[in-house]
Amino acid sequence: MSIGFVGIQPPKKNANVMNDKIVSPSCLPDMNNLKKVAIIGLPNTGKTQIFNNLTGEYNIVANYPGTTIEMKRTVTRIEDQYYQIIDTPGLHCLYIHSEEEMAVRDMILSERPDIIVQCIDSSQYKQSFLLTAELLELETPMVLVLNAIDETARKGIWIDSVELERMLGIPVVESIALRGLGKEELKDAISRARQSTLDVKYGFQIESAINELTSALPFDLDFKHKIASLYLLNDPFVEKFLQKKYDAEKVLHVRTVFNKIRRQIKGNIRQGINDKRSQWVNNVTAAVVKKNRVVYKGFSHHFTNATRHPILGIPIFLFFMAIVYLSVVYVSGAIDKFITFAAVKPVTGFINSWSLPVFWNDLLIGPHGILTLGLFNAIGTVLPILSVFFFIFGCFEDSGYITNFTVLSKRIFEKIGIPGNAITSLVLGFGCKTMATLSTRQLTIYKEKFIAVFLIAFAIPCSAQLSISMAILARVGLSAFLIVLGVLIISEMGAGLILNKIIKGKSESSYIQVIPQMRFPSMRAVFIKTYYRIVSFLKEALPIFILSAAGLFIFDKVGLLNMTKQALTPMVVGWMGLPKDIIDVFLLALARREAAAGLILKMVDSGALNYIQSIVAVVVTTISFPCVANIIAIGKEMGWKTAVAMTTLIFAASFLLVGALNWILVLVVH
């Protein structure tokens, strides 16, 4: 599953999703005869784009490492053969650093893909070839894809793919996946995939150690050679992998043999293995890579450096934020007006002209009508704002800015207990909190993960909230926007500081992050991405908008709504200083945040909320409690107890915070 924006997409139970474009029901492939093709590569090398190109499906792609969090599978046909294509999260090497990477390795080791397609970012060919060297040890047919070959050419690097193919003995194809180039060549290469003839030799001492350990491994185990070498490297997860498959006695036997071998070997095995691998890569690159001596680095290189410069980076950040603010407020405002003028008004007038009985008229276009609060709210108010925001956020994702921003903001985040590795997750929270929560999987230290998950759930508005809140506050005034921004930043930092103090545990993870070079986003790709996000919003949210409006309508008609309002009055009116009708908003928020925010927007427009009330209302909908999908994601990552505790804590904190905010504002303004 890739980063989606709107809510959570439940993981598909049936992994073998048929691609109906290619497979017609009459000729279903024989599932047992299905060849598995795993697309593997370093983070941010374009694996998902290749997957999309191969299968004709669409999954979100972006220019930062870690876009794909979970594996994704689809069946597709190439010539006469059916293949199951597997898209995987990025992998640095088969020696594992995090749970996220472990999933990929476990898949390879236990499912035994028939073909491995390694996706290579050609501008970082050496790093990729190191992974190639490891993958060759799996003795599985392979294909290499030299992706983004256009950027490589611009950097004055030329890779002789024909010579590489000859040298390794496996098909090598060039590709510009973002533009769909190299797709047919890849399909052809997959049907020609072969085992390489040029693997890495580790020298007598290490090879004989590997062989000795290999013979100690259970004999029905796959990839014995590779597993033995991982064992020798002291990989922390490989023993766990064995424990899952074999009884304790067998695992203990392997450990005893390993200890014996370890004692016999002089010197450092890790260094020996890495030296040989590096030598292998140097030999390959020396034969196939040519470089120009004079290369113009270009605007994007300098601009990328500027975005993370401690001084230049700040105005660039503010400039980008201003673009988001202005376009969300003005562009979507214009679309909103147009839709109101062109669709909402005529339809309302038309329905009014029927002179239906009051009940039916109210059901359709009354204050809680399924059209007013459901359809028009979704399409007229929320959708324009969301689409503009999706488009701009998509541009940022594809440009590669997000990772550069993590470098710029690292110090500040570290103060509140967020390590560099977690900043990307936090920034992704502005897209979708659920996905951001799932992406904390890459964090290995409990304390850091806990703080990150909490802060994502707490005061970070997701794309839907953020964009609609911006629109609301823009109507009240820029000062309101700045106040809310300040309040959210202070509460987020305060929460971080407190948690950092309270939770015990060491936080000494090492921050090593490859930064993508920024590029001008391809408009075509961003439009496609925005389109898919809008479609998934409409599919998921529109029915809920209409149902929740109908629910509220019935609630109102039977009188329950009034009773609830009476009961909550002391809390809402007394403590938060909000009008009674805001309870409609809270009830809608239970179902769908955007629906609630859309209603606030309407209330601001009609003058039902004043300056202070608008600010309080926006803050309360932003931090009151995480949405259901987010709570599920927290439960998945941290356990259900923690999820419930976190939700309760956030609710209590927000209740106190919002009341306090109300009273402070009242004191200051009057």
Binding site: H97, Q124, K126, Q127, L130, P236, G267, K410, Y511
Partner: protein
């Protein structure tokens, strides 16, 4: 005590240090480790000097505190000598072991500290074994003459070749290796605030202060030359000269 006798004692003490590194304490292990030269008499002498402890009917053998201090100095000198020869002079293989073995018995502690400082306080020998820390490492001494400096000390925009990486954390070193951050590779320091950013083999990589502190580079690296360790061939010739230099020490 004659020079030869001291050398023999040193060999035993060193062997006991290796055993300590592997968690071995039985005298049988010591015997099997030095099959040709093992001599009960030497053990007795070492015991009389208070350098070793024997227990359980002389089946268990351990260094005493003073024995350990002596072994520490020896191992330190030995492994630093290996670094010096491998890194600065480009020697390898048999040269490495032979010269280092002569070196360890003759040099003074001060000279060892000077070499350590010159090399930027390495923490591992070329074989990847730990070099015991000296006083100079704790103070992180630097001199104008240091050939190897921490990567973080470079000026912005400066390039240098990695000499070695001081890192005992397996996960971290594998991650660095995977990104081609390894000895012999040319890197460029791009940025040092709010965090460090280096360029390595076409990739920009952001690193923590804690991570970059482990990476040591040649201070005056030659400009970009394709292929790692290109300096080494020039250095080979120096090894013989150095060997003579150590012989002078002996006298």
């Amino acid at each position: 005590m004659g020079v030869t006798q001291k050398v023999i004692h040193d060999e035993y003490i060193e062997q006991l240090w290796y055993m300590k590194e592997q968690g071995e304490i039985s005298i049988d292990f010591l015997k099997s480790a030095m099959p040709e030269s093992f001599d009960e008499k030497v053990i007795e002498e070492l015991f009389n000097f208070g350098l070793i402890d024997l227990s359980q009917n002389a089946l268990i053998i351990k260094l005493t505190e003073s024995g350990e201090a002596q072994a520490r100095q020896l191992i330190r000198a030995h492994r630093l000598a290996e670094r010096l020869i491998a890194d600065v002079l480009g020697g390898g293989g048999d040269d490495l072991e032979k010269i280092a073995c002569e070196f360890e018995h003759t040099v003074s502690g001060e000279l060892v500290n000077s070499i350590c400082t010159l090399l930027g306080h390495p923490k591992e020998c070329p074989h990847g074994m730990p070099i015991p820390e000296g006083e100079c490492c704790k103070l992180a001494l630097k001199t104008e003459l240091s050939l190897i400096v921490p990567l973080a000390d470079l000026k912005l925009g400066e390039s240098a070749r990695i000499a070695y990486i001081n890192c005992r954390n397996d996960q971290q070193i594998h991650k660095l290796e995977g990104l081609c951050i390894r000895p012999g590779v040319l890197v460029k320091l791009h940025q040092n605030y709010p965090t460090y950013v280096i360029e390595c083999e076409g990739a920009s990589i952001a690193l923590d202060k804690e991570v970059i502190a482990n990476i040591c580079v040649w201070k005056n690296s030659m400009p970009a030359v394709e292929g790692a360790n290109s300096k080494i061939s020039d250095k080979k010739n120096n090894v013989k000269g150095l060997s003579k230099f150590f012989h002078l020490f002996k006298k």
